[in-house]
């Protein structure tokens, strides 16, 4: 119990928000809008899982938004060219992995700080994309929408897939040795090395992993609308980092888990509709997001201070 206090408190906060919504804005719980919300957030969940791993290893990746855009556009173009979805999906994942590998090489290989590296790749990718596409949309063929299923079925598939992925990854992180390596490396890379782990390799792979997940998430997003906007993915990195940090993953590495990230994501996902239902303008969303990040970090900081006294 004590061990997961942080994650449980976020769960409590989520519960409180849900209860509040139930009282003040019960319309929130009508099935169709709720399902739409979860479907919209499904790709974000996938990326959040990857981000949790990255942050646990004591790194950060703010280029996921741009990677998402690039993968979305490329996947869209391939689909528009007639590629079957079964090929587009791995292509998107592979592209994401490749982009992630660039980050990984610079951070793990050259030991550069991940914040600056991913800042650079974020802008390079985004501007490169804008240059090539000039803001043009990609029109997707009908078969891509909801994977050719009905909207309801498609939504259920996406939500279901993301939850299945979450559970599978959480299990893998707990039961496969590689999953524990990220914790060891994030806590103390030197001690990890002495225990036989290769910290640089773990770091490199973690960036590839989040890249691949971003490619997957891009595909999941593709299936939700008839066009690909080049601006899709903007702000994704902040959303995901906020979710993960709120969910108890410490920026200093070594702590936190996927369930916390999941709960944090749900909590933040409720903010936007809560604002609407409370008749607060949507423009407060970014400010609230920033405030939530700060509150979460401050809470963690105070708790660490108390522990160290």
């Amino acid at each position: 119990m004590k061990r997961f206090f942080r994650e449980l408190s976020v769960l409590g906060a989520l519960a409180a928000v849900l209860v509040g919504m139930a009282i003040f804005a019960p319309a929130f719980f009508s099935p169709q809008p709720l399902l739409s919300l979860l479907t919209r957030e499904a790709p974000t969940l996938i990326v959040a899982c990857g981000m949790a791993c990255v942050i646990i290893t004591r790194q950060i990746d703010i280029s996921v938004g741009s990677m998402f855009s690039v993968c979305s556009v490329c996947a869209g173009l391939l689909a528009a060219r007639g590629w079957p979805l079964l090929l587009v999906l791995p292509a998107s994942v592979a592209l994401g992995a490749l982009l992630g590998a660039v980050n990984g090489l610079l951070v793990a290989g050259l030991r550069l700080p991940s914040i600056v590296v991913t800042l650079a790749t974020m802008v390079t990718l985004r501007q490169g994309l804008n240059l090539v596409r000039q803001g043009e949309f990609v029109n997707l063929p009908d078969r891509v929408q909801w994977f050719g299923l009905s909207q309801m079925a498609g939504q259920l598939v996406l939500v279901g897939a993301s939850v299945v992925f979450l559970v599978a990854l959480a299990l893998a992180m707990r039961h496969v040795a590689a999953g524990r390596f990220v914790y060891a490396v994030g806590t103390d890379a030197e001690a990890a090395r002495l225990a036989g782990i290769r910290p640089q390799l773990v770091t490199f792979l973690v960036f590839i992993f989040i890249g691949a997940l971003t490619g997957l998430a891009a595909m999941m997003n593709l299936a939700q609308s008839p066009q690909v906007q080049p601006l899709s993915g903007a702000g994704l990195e902040l959303k995901v980092i906020a979710a993960v940090v709120v969910g108890g993953v410490a920026i200093s590495g070594g702590r936190g888990n996927l369930w916390g990230a999941f709960t944090g994501l749900l909590l933040l996902a409720c903010v936007s509709p809560a604002l609407i239902h409370l008749h607060i303008e949507a423009y407060w969303e970014k400010a609230i997001q920033g405030a939530i990040i700060l509150l979460a970090v401050v809470a963690d900081g105070l708790r660490t201070r108390k522990l160290n006294r």
Partner: protein, 350 residues
């Protein structure tokens, strides 16, 4: 490791610049010449247009003031081995606050400007408190305020309001010239001088460097570490506010998206100029060279016919700046890595 350049004889200017900065100077000159020849043409009426005109050069100067100010603000921060991702957003927020104070608050421009500077410093103070008092990592704190400040700007303006119709006397600051140079250039030079003196000629600058090289070492020497760190973040906020006022004067309007993406350019300018991202070493004149290099790049690209045809100036400059940052970072660590391969590993001392 380069020895601190602080106390070299100012008259010996060649020795003032490290090898890195000399290299940057040559690159800057080469870059400028490239754009001069590639970006200057004579139009149908026989008038010289493009990069090579004085107007254009002054434009470059104008545009580089805001990013230059942010880069100046970031230099002490990065020297202390910290980072501030929120200055671009703070620029936007301050621009909005400035507009609001003047437009809705009815305050005269100078008062509104002064108040904005104070608010900017206060916002920097938020970063400062979280980083020094609570010992939180600057990365996540400024990531949070990056979102918070921009969000506040958007919220205050409901995403739509733009403040315009500023008096001509105010626009003079951003759009006219004074004593031969664009007005804001004088402000920029003033701030550059101030920050330069602070970093290179005062005990504050010494403290920043010491903290950047060795936080514990600074503490053991009795330096007031928390106060000095707080100073760099508050100063960054103040300078971002100055940049906001200038930005508004230049564009003639205050919008919530002011300064979006500026942090990349600022960080690139600082790193390009030779300041180590790991802290301790760095110079203000290096940053100025870096700012010049980026400003010339940005504006030079807009003058190239091929870029003009594609109408892709902003994208090209962003793309190249990102690539440039990666190159600069790689170049900065390359010597360390190469030496690790050349020299055999020594056994550690007991």
């Amino acid at each position: 490791m380069s020895v601190s350049p602080d106390n070299k004889n100012p008259r010996d200017w060649k020795a003032l610049l490290t090898r890195h900065e000399m290299l940057l100077l040559y690159v800057l000159i080469a870059e400028w010449l490239f754009f001069y020849f590639a970006g200057t043409t004579t139009n149908r009426r026989g008038v010289v247009v493009g990069f090579g005109t004085l107007d254009r050069q002054f434009d470059i100067l104008r545009h580089s003031c805001e990013i230059g100010l942010l880069a100046l603000a970031l230099t002490p921060v990065i020297i202390t081995a910290g980072i501030d991702l929120s200055i671009g957003s703070l620029l936007g927020l301050c621009a909005i606050l400035f507009g609001k104070l003047w437009h809705d608050g009815g305050l005269p421009i100078p008062v509104a400007a002064g108040l904005t500077l104070a608010l900017g410093a206060l916002a920097g103070g938020l970063n400062a408190i979280l980083i020094t008092a609570l010992r939180l990592p600057p990365l996540i704190v400024t990531l949070g305020t990056y979102s918070l400040f921009r969000g506040l700007a958007e919220a205050i303006t409901h995403g739509a309001i733009t403040y315009t119709d500023f008096p001509a006397s105010f626009l003079f600051v951003g759009q006219e010239r004074w004593l031969g140079l664009p007005t804001q250039a004088w402000i920029f030079l003033g701030v550059a001088l101030g920050v330069g003196l602070l970093v290179h000629r005062t005990t504050f600058g010494r403290a920043f460097r010491t903290i950047g090289f060795s936080l514990e070492g600074a503490r053991y020497a009795g330096l007031p570490v928390a106060r000095r760190l707080a100073l760099v973040y508050v100063l960054a906020g103040l300078i971002a506010a100055i940049a906001a006022v200038i930005y508004t004067a230049r564009l003639g309007q205050a919008k919530a998206d002011a300064g979006t993406g500026y942090e990349l350019f600022a960080i690139t300018a600082v790193v390009l100029g030779g300041t180590s991202i790991f802290g301790g070493s760095g110079t203000v004149h290096g940053t100025l060279l870096g700012v010049a290099a980026i400003a010339v790049l940005k504006n030079g690209l807009a003058c190239l016919p091929v870029v003009m045809r594609m109408n892709a100036a902003e994208e090209m400059s962003g793309l190249l700046t990102g690539a440039l940052l990666l190159l600069a970072l790689t170049a900065s660590v390359l010597p360390k890595i190469l030496s690790r391969f050349r020299t055999p590993h020594h056994a550690p001392a007991p």
